[in-house]
Every structure is written in C-alpha cells, then in structure tokens.
Amino acid sequence: MNAIINLSRRNFLKTSALAGGGLILGVHLPGLARAAEASQQGASPFPLNAFVRIGQDDTVTVIVNHSEMGQGPYTSIPMMVAEELDADWNKVRYEAAPVAPEYNHSVYGIQMTGGSTSTWSEWERVRKAGAAARQMLLAAAGETWGVSADTCRTENNQVIHGGSGRKLSYGELAEKASLLTPPQNPPLKDPKKFKLVGKPTRRLDTPEKTNGKAIFGLDVNVPGMVVAMIARPPVFGAKLKSFNAEKAKAIPGVQRVVEIERGIAVVADGFWPAKHGREALEIIWDEGPLASLDSRTQREQYAELARKPGTLALKQGDVATALGGAAKRFEAIYDLPYLAHATMEPMNCVADVRADSAEVWTGTQYQTGDRDAIVKDTGLKPEQVKLHTMLCGGGFGRRAVIDSHFVREAVQVSKAIQKPVKVVWTREDDMRGGYYRPRAFHSISAGLDADGKPVAWQHRIVCQSFIVGTPFEAFVIKDGVDETTVEGAKDIPYEIPNLLVDWQMAPGGVPCLWLRSVGHSHNAFVVETFIDELAHAAGKDPFEFRRALLANHPRHKRVLEFAAEKAGWGKPLSTGRGRGIAMHESFGSFFAHVIEASVSKEGKVRVHRVVGAVDCGPVVNPDTIRAQIEGGAVFALTAALYGEITFEQGRVKQRNFHDYPMLRMNEMPEVEGHIIPSEERMGGVGEPGVPPIAPALANAIFAVTGKRVRQLPIRAEDLRA
C-alpha cells in the first residue's frame, strides 16, 4: 500500500479507471452537503458541510469517511474537526460516512481506508471542514446580533460577542448557519494554539465497545433476514462440476440452496441450520491446476526462480564487480510464508436486493469498489445502492478487497432469493478462504571491504503479485515491478555504493492481498536481519554499524538513536536475555524497535520487552499512536512466532486458532511506545510499527543463541541448544 501512496501522489489523477466517477476533491466543501443531508437524523440535523452536522441540542456529529477497524479514525478525525471548530469535545459524536464523492480519499480518489493514511490524508481537509463550519457559526451569530462576525469569537461550542459578552450556543446557531454558503478556504489555526490535537484523548467508541452495544457487520439484523453459508471450492481456482442439495434441503431450517458465482449458498433460518445444510451438500468439483499445490514443492519452485535474474527494481553502481572484489562475501536464503489476516470478526455481509434498490451492511475498507460491484451485480444505478460501513472487527487489509468478493456473494444470494440475507463465514471459511500475505522467498548477498564497510548488496525477491490483472495495476506496477513486492527493499536507506534489487514474479493462483504493512512485512525482515549479520561479521555493534550508514538519512538515524537510548542499548541485561535492534521506514513514518528475548533449551522463545520509537511527524492523538505501537508489536510477534498458511494437495492445512495460533495474554511482553517530537511531514501509524518487530526479535535471538533465523515462523527445533 505504501507503493500506492507514493505512486498515487504522482499518478492517481491521471486516470479515472478506479475513481468510479469521482476524482480527487482536495478540500472540497460542497454547500449542499448532499450525502450528509441525505442521512439527516437524530440530534444533529443541520449539515454545515459534508463532514459536520450540528443539532439544536448542541451535539456536533462528525461524519468520518475512513473505516474504524481499531486504528482510531472515529476519534482522530473528529479531533481534527473539533480543534478547528472550537467544539466542546464532550458533545462530539462520530458517524460513518455514506458512499459519495465528497468522501473520497483525498489522495486515492476513491472512498477507501488503507495504507495507514487516514490521519495524514485528512489533516488538511477535515480541519478546513471544522474551520469552515466555525466561520459559518460566527457569521450566523453576527447576523443574529447585527454585529460584525469579526467582533465575535468561539469557545467550547459557543459564539461569544467580544463587546457585549453575549453568547449563543452552536446548537442555537446551527440552523441559521446551515443555510449559509461555506467558505472555500478558511484559515487554519496556528498549531501552537491547539487545545485538543496532540493531547492524549480517549477514544469516542470505547463506551459502546465495553457494554455490548457496538454494532459490527456480523451484528446487523434486518427484518425478514435469513442466514446463508457458502460452500466454496476446496482448492483455489476449482470449478463446480455438479451438486446434489437434496440432503441439505431436508435439514429443518434450511430454506433454499442456490448457486452463485463463487459457490453454493445454503439459505436457512439461522447459522446452525445453514452450517448443517452446507455440510450435507454433495458436491463434485473440478479441482483444476492447483489441486497438487504443496508448500514443500512450492519452495523448490521459488528457489529455482531465485536463481534467475528478475525484473529490476533498483540498480546502482556495479554489484557484480563490487561483490567480486569484496574482502568478505555473505549469502543467505530466506523463506517467509503465506499469512492470514485472521480478523477476530470473520468476513460477513448483509444484503437486501430489491427490484429498484439494494442496501448492504458490512465492515468494509473499500466503499467505492464495493458499491461499484453491487451496481454491476444488480444492474441498478449507483444512486439506488446504499452501502452502510459498519464497525470492523479487525481489518488489517482483509476488508479492502479488490474483487469485493464477500460483498458480491451476499448481493448475489439476496438477488437470487429476493430476501435480505446475511452471509456468514465461519473461522474455517475465513482461514481457508485465501487473500493472504503472499509467500516471499528471498535470495540475498552482500560484500564487505577490508574495513568492514558494505560495498555491495544484491537482493532478489520471489513473490506472487496480487496487483497484476487488477485495476490497481496502473498505479502499483512501475517499470514492470509490482511495488508491493519490493517496497522496503528497493528503498534501503543504508549507504552502500553498489545495489541491486530485483523481483521474480511467482506463479499466481492463491488469492493474495495486502496484509498490515504489505511488502514491508517480509522485506524489512530480510534487510534488517541481514544488515545485522553484516554488522556482526564486521565485528561492529549492530546499532553503531547501522548508524554509521545513515549519515544522509537523518530521520532514520534519529529514530534508531531514540529507540536505542530508551531501551538502554549497550547496558547489561538479565542473564539469558539477548537484545536485538531493527529500524524501518514505511507509510511515511520511521520506526525503530529494540527487543529483549530469551530462548529455552528446548528452543522456546520468550519475548520480554519491546521498546518502540516512532517519528511520524505531527501527532494528533498520542494515545492512539501508542496503542498502534502495542498492537503492531503483538500482530508482528504473532506472525513471527506462529503465522503460517501452508498447502498440501491443494488444500490449506490450517483452519482455526489451534493450528493458526495467536499471541495470548500469558505471552505478552512489556511494550513501550515512544514518540519523537517532530515537525516533519506526517506519516501513518497503523502499519509501520509492524515491519521492524520480527527482525528485532530474530536479532535478539541471534544475540542470545548465535543462531540466525532465516525462515518464519520461528521454529523451536532450529533453536534447541
């Protein structure tokens, strides 16, 4: 996704293939906030623009166009609006935006959430929305009192007349203000005057997430709704040959069995009969070319590809000559597996398709694409389609689905049975349903000169592409290279005079997708463990070795130093513990981690302490950033210690949390998050805390065992004493 941001900054405007009719709006504040007006309801009926509605009871509702998956936009975006609006934070509420061009991503040009962009991409637009609303309230007050708006000020949901001290609440002014034309370019506050932005602020969605009232996609209930479960092919790419539904239909509670594009839907009164009905289906599949897919033979296939040059992603100097002349040469092979997102809330979607309308409720990160898919599958017009973005029980990229499959399934079933339907995925469906972080096989070599300085670095990545053949191709494929496969490798920050990074596209077939930090998740592991290896080979301290190679990368250098300082790098450790460091830039932010770990005689790894430091530029909610450092660490440790999707006879072997385990409470290390005060360009925080974790852990394991981890997940048998 990083690649998309970088490319989109240059290229996204040039094409409208993805835009679904709406292009970049920048800071567009429509006078008639169409979508906001359409959803008028409850306490805040007066739209001041697309992002702000105010009610007579003084409630300020901020319409949020980024999906809430836990990463915090339902708080950070209202904070930015409230700051410029001088709103009373206790009166601020959030509401999910409908699908409309007003809510397109300010950079991507379509409505979606991804690439750790929600805060920085709205930093200007929603503050302007807040500032514009404030000016309208000032004007409305001035008009009411017959004074110039310039003589009035705002404070805590009130306009105050400077001369007389008269006051009117925002609620009292909302209706009048909503009839005014929004100013197009309202001035923004001097950041030094911020009262809310930059301060630790409790999330707005916590109360409802602690009393059972929060409604996730799976909790949606529509009158007359039935439940469907889909029998999908056991092998990716398999085709349906024939099926017999007699036994399924005989199960009490099963209503219908219908064939849709991706499988056979069993429609029932509820989850339990739907599940039994699906189990009773007799299906014959034509399993197709992936029927023999096996992770072990796939490794051989990838290793073979790694022997041949790939498409160039980066070339600088002359690597072959430099390697030939190096005093010491090092080579390594890395193998990193497919990974499942395993969101706590399995995929699901509610659809109600009628002759002249379609209404869909789901936790999605990809509103424009999903809306367009609904239009295509129903034959309705976009204005006849209503898509409700629900709270997402985890996302990590799994809900930004380029082919909109989980939405399309529900739409197709509802269309076929002419009833509202909820399609539910079981954990097993979710685990085996594909859209994984692709497997990545790396071949890397480097050379040191006589002084122990790196002179050459050659990095080959074998990895399939989930971009080729999709509408994202135009933005993400650059000079023949899928940027999501090489991000974090082709932009290695260390000063090495001769560099070569290339990509071998592995055969497709297994559905893959962006998973929290995307290509950085495997590339950072390889780069940061191999540089560590070079440091040790050069007889240098791994922190100092990196630092010496970052003279021209001040933000990298600073975050590395900050993490080392906070972690007490170089200070004595408890017996049996090792310390590892790693640093990585992604999604516009700079992260470094120091991990303390120990390894038992049996090879069992215990992570004791994680110290994370970030430079993400200006900060909106420091508490959210710390939460993302904690969450990113757990997500990445889970992958490093346990995460692996494998294939045997074309089938995914893992199915639930017993064979695709998650880090649990008793394994939770102490995680510290440190934020560097920074006025640099703002970056993201949802993903970039992930990449340095696995290499920092592997480097800590090396420090304590002398053993290098070159494949993930970490295996006890490789670390036994």
Binding site: G70, D205, T206, T210, I215, F216, E630, M665, E670
Partner: protein
C-alpha cells in the same frame, strides 16, 4: 421447548436444543454483544456466564443451559460491570473492540472470585481470550484498576 433465564428474564424457546447458546442469544434474543470468533472454544469472544461460571457459548448447546441462568455482557450486574467498564474506558483498552465483550465477561469472573488479582492470576484467567489488536497490556492494567475501583466502592 427449552426454558432458561437470560439476564434475569425467563424464556421458553422452541429451538433445536443442539444449537449453540451463542446463536440462540444472537439470533433469537438479539443479544449481539456476545461475539462469534472461532466456533471451537479457542478465542473467548463468545464468553458468557452460565450459573455464574464463564463458558464458551459457541460450544455450549442450548440443552446445557436448560433451567439455568445465563448472563451476557448486556446483563452483567452493575457491581462488576461498572468498575470494569470504567477501567476499560480509563485505560482506553479497545481497538477494534470485537473481542472485548468476551474479555470483560472473563475478567468479571476473575474479579468476583479474587478482589486483588496478581499478574499471574490475570494470565491464568485471561489466556483463553484472544485479542488480535493486541490490547493485552491495557487489559491487564484495566483489570488491576477495576479491582481497585470495585474495592473502593464497597
């Protein structure tokens, strides 16, 4: 017909008695605070109290709840719900929030039985509840805080 009490209310339900309690709560009684995560008692998202004990409702057939008292997140008694929810808010625990009903229901039994749980007690009680967002550190802090709040209220 299966009779049971849910959140102090009596129900007579004409539902297949093999149906997991989870789906009865969610689909028949519209108590959607209890979540589906795994269906195999592996993640704890579906934790409810059955006669006061924390159980995984995804593997508890309705028949096992017959004649018993079920409490869900929506009906957790205020002496436990208030300190827990207040602590969860103070520590800003949830991220996506999906697992948190189950976390709170598990923590409620711990607090009821143990007025001052240690980190080891928390590990033992809470290790069955997965949080994919990684809020464990905050859950731990919130349980310690809730214990304090609960004691102060007495």
């Amino acid at each position: 017909m299966t009779s049971l009490t849910v959140n102090r209310k009596k129900y007579e339900l004409d539902v297949d008695p093999t149906t997991p309690l989870l789906w009865v709560l969610r689909e028949k009684l519209q108590l959607t605070g209890t979540k589906f995560g795994c269906g195999m008692a592996l993640c704890g998202a579906c934790t409810v109290h059955l006669n006061g004990e924390a159980v995984r409702s995804c593997v508890t057939p309705l028949s096992r709840a017959a004649g018993k008292e079920v409490v869900t997140i929506e009906g957790l008694s205020p002496d436990l719900a208030r300190p827990l929810q207040q602590a969860w808010i103070t520590e800003d625990v949830p991220q996506c929030g999906y697992c948190q009903s189950g976390q709170i229901m598990a923590a409620a039994v711990l607090l009821r039985e143990n007025s001052n749980p240690s980190d080891t007690d928390i590990d033992e009680c809470m290790t069955g509840n997965i949080c994919r967002c990684g809020t464990y550190q905050r859950i731990r802090r919130a349980i310690h805080l809730a214990a304090k709040l609960k004691t102060e209220r007495k």
